[in-house]
């Protein structure tokens, strides 16, 4: 079982996103996973994310966004987390900006694990208290500890 707390590492967490719009956020996320050597081709990875996002926004309301894509630019399931204090317009259904952004990507062949990680992330984020704690976390280590504690 792929656990979120095991997929995330310090270098895959950014608690101070500087981008102000969705496109730039995707660029920042792509840079982060590329720096962490999780993707073979940063631009192709970004295109996959944007392609999926253009079908339907992954902003799901309550300040959350879970951008995701299946792409063979990654070798296994990859996750990253970013937080934006000011929030980013993700064209979410509730029209509120996204503050907590979880990125999920996997190779085409690992569809089953990918969907389960997506489902687990979505389920985890339904917890109001957990979201508040993530907003207040002061370090990547604290984020991982919080997820570990709340993940079933």
């Amino acid at each position: 079982m792929e656990k979120i707390s095991e997929l995330l590492t310090d270098e895959l967490i950014n608690l101070n996103l500087s981008s102000k719009n969705k496109e730039d956020v995707f660029g920042e996320l792509a840079d982060m996973v590329h720096r962490a050597k999780k993707v073979s081709d940063r631009d192709a990875f970004l295109r996959s994310l944007m392609k999926r996002e253009n079908l339907e926004s992954t902003g799901i309301g309550k300040g959350l966004a879970i951008p995701h894509a299946r792409t063979d630019t990654v070798e296994g399931v990859v996750m990253a987390f970013a937080r934006s204090e000011r929030g980013v317009d993700f064209q979410s259904l509730d029209k509120k900006p996204a503050h907590l952004i979880f990125l999920i990507a996997s190779p085409e062949r690992e569809k089953s694990i990918y969907i389960k990680v997506l489902a687990r992330t979505s389920r985890l984020l339904r917890n109001d208290k957990f979201r508040q704690q993530l907003m207040k976390a002061s370090s990547p280590e604290e984020v991982i500890q919080l997820i570990e504690k709340n993940e079933i």
Partner: protein, 150 residues
């Protein structure tokens, strides 16, 4: 020879990548089909089946358990547990398979049956150069082999 074209469902309902899974589930009911071909610019690019949708609700730990007979209750299903607000987080794009099990309309039903059995396919998409012509299910093959009526 019993040919695929004589037993397939002609002009099947097709879908696009951007349909939400809730909309897809509704289609499975209204169309009474096992799977839906995913098309883009007239070409089949994927397949989504009822099985793909149901799998989402099976807890991870079930992968590790062979005998489920001792479990009498798996608990209640939480509404909106997986898909975010209004079920829009997951689309067909996210769950469809890209390696579509295709077969020619002129192939024999026996060939279709062998492919289904060997590859554990619930259905095959019948295509030619013009695109999707139909869908052939296990039920169609069974009906043909046993001479049963529709």
């Amino acid at each position: 020879m019993m040919k695929v074209r004589d037993y397939m469902h002609k002009d099947p309902k097709t879908v696009t990548r951007d349909l939400t899974l809730r909309e897809t589930a509704s289609l499975f009911t209204s169309e009474e089909v096992e799977g839906l071909p995913v098309v883009e610019d007239g070409t089949v690019v994927g397949l989504v089946t009822r099985r793909d949708l149901l799998k989402l609700f099976i807890p991870d730990y079930m992968d590790l358990i062979q005998d489920v007979s001792f479990l009498e209750d798996f608990g209640e299903l939480e509404p909106e547990a997986f898909f975010g607000m209004e079920g829009r987080l997951l689309l067909i794009e996210d769950v469809m398979r890209g390696d579509v099990p295709e077969i020619s309309p002129d192939s024999s039903l026996l060939k279709a049956a062998v492919i289904m059995e060997k590859n554990n396919e619930d259905l095959l998409i019948v295509t030619d150069k013009s695109g999707v012509l139909g869908v052939l299910t296990r039920a169609d093959v069974c009906r043909a082999f046993f001479g049963a009526k529709k």
